[in-house]
Point group: C2
Chain length 197, copies 2
């Protein structure tokens, strides 16, 4: 079964429709997704950006929320508009996502994205991440303890360095086994088609 | 017949697949396109950008040429990669496009875009614009003389001010009669669907 690496950042707005629909789209094509949480902040910083490009350019930012609302309406996804404090820090959620077993990762990722973009919650609040874990039957305290271990913190830094090394500059991004990079929710179908062919 | 305003800049890379396919896509949906050339440079300048965002961020830029090559391959469009001197100045071509009658505009626009992105030519070279006019049976000298008149120069400035006033920050952009803005070649189908519904 061909694999597609699926790179996302928990603060990234266009990662929301991608994480909510990727699994069904991949299954329909016989593609296996490898869910790779990473942090866009350090990559933006090396590009001289101190915040999301959607904050740096308010006209483009305002457009993007309208655009995303149209996408969510088309996909039937709940959407509350720009989340409080956008771009939110996804570091706690990313550490948890990384420490979970691969099979448990997609449900957790979707729960956190739904909380942020579908319900307007703040995912840097530890109780939001813990609630997502509990709703899925995890022992939240145990998972969070593992997530904040030095080893796992390092693993997320490594993951982010890997993202940069393979040329990722935004999220969501998709990389096929033969190294083809696709950026954006609007390229997800193309990435899956490429992986499946 | 519903109208869709189609805003493009002659130096804009993603305007290329849009101008080459817009008319057929619009006809298929019973939508009339209003072709609106404008200049992105003055709008970028007000956003603090001194060049194309694809030049300002080389990693993103390199990706975008690969992305555009995939799009052109899918659409069967010739593509020579990043044109010399990108982003090229489209001011001469835009003045000519604006001074032509509306019915003659699409063919001229496509000829100039094909020269730049399909053949690697430099459209700020007057001979390239003149060759496009001649290939379509126009009296190139007469058209260019009208294009550089004070009245037409002013008309292009007004057109660019109009673009900014309606919230345009990139190209290609599409605006429906009910004021819905769509940005990017990858939103063209959505814009046409919105206009047609």
């Amino acid at each position: 079964m061909p694999r597609l690496d699926f790179w996302f950042d928990f603060g990234s707005s266009y990662s929301y429709p991608a994480v909510m629909t990727a699994e069904a789209e991949a299954a329909g094509r016989g593609v296996r997704l490898a869910w790779r949480p990473f942090l866009l902040g350090p990559i933006f910083a090396k590009q001289g950006l101190t915040t999301s490009p959607l904050k740096a350019n308010p006209v483009k930012g305002a457009y993007s929320w309208r655009d995303l609302s149209r996408i969510c309406a088309q996909l039937g996804l709940p959407f509350k508009g720009e989340p409080p404090g956008f771009p939110q820090s996804g570091v706690s959620a990313a550490r948890v996502a990384l420490v979970l077993e691969e099979a448990a990762r997609p449900d957790f990722v979707r729960a956190v994205f739904r909380a942020q973009f579908g319900e307007g919650q703040t995912i840097s609040d530890p109780s939001v991440v813990e609630a997502a874990l509990k709703s899925l039957g995890h022992d939240a305290d145990a998972v969070v303890a593992k997530a904040v271990s030095d080893g796992n913190k390092l693993a997320l830094r490594r993951q982010t360095e890997d993202a940069e090394r393979v040329g990722i500059f935004g999220a969501p991004s998709f990389i096929t086994e033969d190294g083809e990079l696709f950026w954006g929710h609007d390229r997800m179908a193309d990435a899956l088609d490429w992986a499946a062919r």
